[in-house]
Symmetry: C2
Subunit: 443 residues, 2 copies
């Protein structure tokens, strides 16, 4: 099971400060567990790994098989929480180069997360004239980016297969009862999956929202859920500072209260890049409100030790690092001896590259601590469906508790509407006339 090592924050946070955190974390956990806090309509994810809908889960698996058998490409249409989780899991367990690789599962393209004309046209071109299906993911069906993309890809699909056949290739993940996409899916007969009412987008990767694309990529979603369930049992039962979730919550809040404003998520695997993006939404959107919250940022080591490394070592002392560490699961590379040794690497002869990577991590951790950057280490044994399920649940549970420790509602996102309102007004959407006048006067 996942472990959290706080030894490299001890120069920055005293034992007394950590002890003072314990009752606050306990109280925040209690608030979450009893559903007595702000945003308690949105805590369905807490017990989801135990309580998920088995009938729907089997339909997800069946749909994934069907898509694998009849499609060379799957276009996943969604934005924010409706795409980051699936993309993160697929890149981590398969590869950031998933589409480039030879494989017996379909290419997966994430569309509907941009207003970039070039990017939409490019995905159209990359899908080309191959057989494809669409998974459109939207609670409402009216969010601008996915709605635009869905219009385009649906037209392409209907042109290729005709309306009736196309409808069999469209999988709608949406509200269970209402909304534009739900209505359309009912009328057209799309297969439907549910975005649960009590699970917000950023906590939805283990619902149909994330699971269908993940399963299409050939990832074992039963093992993913089983890993999350193991974590749920473990992290809900231990109400003490031995609980890795409690440790993480206590440490990051103690550091924040000391003036650390930036949490830098670090990993030594390039395939972790979109897990960091998923994590940024989870924490940024849950905690960044009321003028509060750690600013979530990420780096990819060792590459970024040669770019952001200088700043981390000697720049403004406003940050701490959270490092996710695991052994590399796949192959091994042994560094050979070279008779000329021009590059001076022969002192590594006979060593596996993973050993070098591990010393880079240990050396960097010490260097950054010496530079004034506290370091939280989150350790997994390896990365596979089970341990990733644990990691996802770990970050989700810690986020919910941490938001309550911070004193915010970790389950709303009132600030996201501001730009949308302005955009609608500038786009002349009916109902925004007054705001439009105000904005135009400012431009």
């Amino acid at each position: 099971m996942l472990n959290v090592d706080l030894s490299a924050i001890s120069d920055f946070v005293s034992g007394q400060q950590m002890a003072a955190m314990e009752p606050r974390v306990a109280a925040a956990y209690e608030t979450l567990a009893t559903g007595s806090g702000a945003g308690n309509d949105y805590i369905g994810w807490v017990n989801l790994p135990r309580d998920y809908d088995r009938e729907e889960f089997a339909r997800i698996q069946a749909a994934a098989k069907r898509i694998q058998s009849d499609s060379e490409a799957l276009v996943v249409i969604g934005i924010g929480g409706s795409y980051l989780g699936a993309r993160a899991v697929i890149e981590l367990l398969k590869s950031p180069n998933y589409n480039l690789k030879k494989k017996d599962t379909p290419d997966i393209f994430f569309a509907g997360n941009t207003l970039s004309t070039d990017m939409v046209l490019e995905i159209m071109e990359l899908v080309g004239d191959r057989d494809f299906s669409i998974n459109v993911i939207s609670k409402s069906g009216t969010t601008t980016e996915p709605a635009v993309a869905f219009r385009l890809f649906k037209a392409k699909l209907e042109e290729k297969y005709g309306k009736a056949e196309a409808a069999k290739r469209i999988y709608a993940t949406t509200d269970k009862a209402k909304g534009a996409l739900k209505s359309l899916a009912d009328v057209e007969g799309y297969e439907e999956f549910v975005v649960p009412d009590d699970v917000g987008g950023r906590y939805s990767v283990l619902t149909a929202v994330g699971l269908l694309p993940i399963a299409v990529a050939g990832i074992d979603i039963e093992a993913l859920m089983a890993g999350a369930e193991e974590a749920r049992v473990a992290f809900q039962s231990d109400r003490s500072m031995n609980n890795p979730v409690w440790k993480y919550v206590a440490a990051r809040n103690a550091l924040y209260e000391q003036g650390k404003k930036v949490e830098l998520l670090c990993c030594y695997e390039p395939s972790f890049r979109f897990m960091s993006e998923w994590w940024k939404q989870l924490y940024g959107e849950s905690e960044g409100k009321d003028g509060k919250g750690l600013f979530p940022a990420s780096v990819e080591f060792t590459a970024d030790l040669h770019s952001m490394g200088q700043y981390i070592q000697q720049g403004e002392r406003i940050m701490f690092e959270t490092v996710v560490r695991y052994d590399q699961p796949h192959g091994e590379i042994l560094i050979g001896a070279d008779k000329d040794n021009v590059d001076g690497l022969n002192f590594l002869a006979g060593k596996p590259l993973s050993f070098v990577a591990e010393q880079a991590l240990r050396g960097t951790r010490l260097a950054h601590v010496d530079g004034g950057v506290p370091n939280i280490l989150v350790e997994l044994e390896t990365v596979n469906e089970t341990t990733l399920g644990q990691l996802i649940y770990f970050f989700e549970l810690a986020c919910g508790i941490s938001g309550y420790v911070l004193g915010v509602n970790p389950f709303n996102q009132p600030g996201v509407e501001a730009y949308k309102k302005n955009m609608f007004a500038l786009l002349n959407k009916p109902g925004y006339e007054e705001l439009r006048e105000t904005l135009l006067a400012r431009l």
Copy 2:
């Protein structure tokens, strides 16, 4: 020519504060232009777009043609400044999906920027048994990540073609006179290109370091240099606050001095992602020292308005945004009318998607300013080789000047050594025995 719009910082920085910045920016520019400041051994990039080596430039173009004709893949081996610039330019002008696209230029794989076993093995597999060449980029030839990758890919190349033929497929970009890679290239007869002594890695994209991979991707490097030269002439001649470079330097330093600690680079095109990574190294490594400097972070809108948008709108007020804006160069998508209008998008019927994107930008800018986030707008007319050359020079010149305004040496990176020393000690490298003992005692 590129423009900087500061209208959306006026609620945060007074005219008086900006006026007070002017003489400081003027003095910093003078320091840079006269080569009288700290790090003045490393300002070869300032006049590089005028003074670059034409003979070498022609060899770069010829080498690119040769690689295009005899290789289906190019493996670029480099880390930090030895890969970020090339990757950024290729992703922006070609595509982040460059390798996935049908094209008449080679696939390009960036290796040597990680210690991840999985990633190295995967690139080996993706290159497969296709014809390929190597561009190894390292001033010294002994940096661990690229040295390891070069050993592996060189062995693969020699196995495939034999040693003599392989040597004709290896292009070494390295020191002009000394170092491990230079010596090896001389002995083996690799074609050589120069990492100039007076241009640090993060300022080197317009040298052979960046230009060879960029040219192989089919990008017009003459136009890129011409754009940079236009910018050099324009930005060096105007010594006033009308100069976009001066505006940017003054604004970001004024905001920093008011307590804004994070600069968030934003773009509305997914293809800009690695330009942001290049920019992070440029600014983070140049300014992040002596406990000072803006923390450079980036977001990709509109996707990240659905993840980091909440934090930006209502989280800690420690940031400002720098938005890079340009018209989309390629196609156009017209939003059609839909008879049922289930998604409610018909109010956009007949409008191009780029119009929607532009209103998202304008609406977001106003929303974020209202939320307390100052906004600097960097505007290009469009994106092509010429305007990108301008943008690169703009950011480089502004960075050099800004570092002097901040009072640091913008051309060194003393903090990067700390982790390397620790890593070498933990790897048992000869000469690090004492440090090894100290570190082991702490672990």
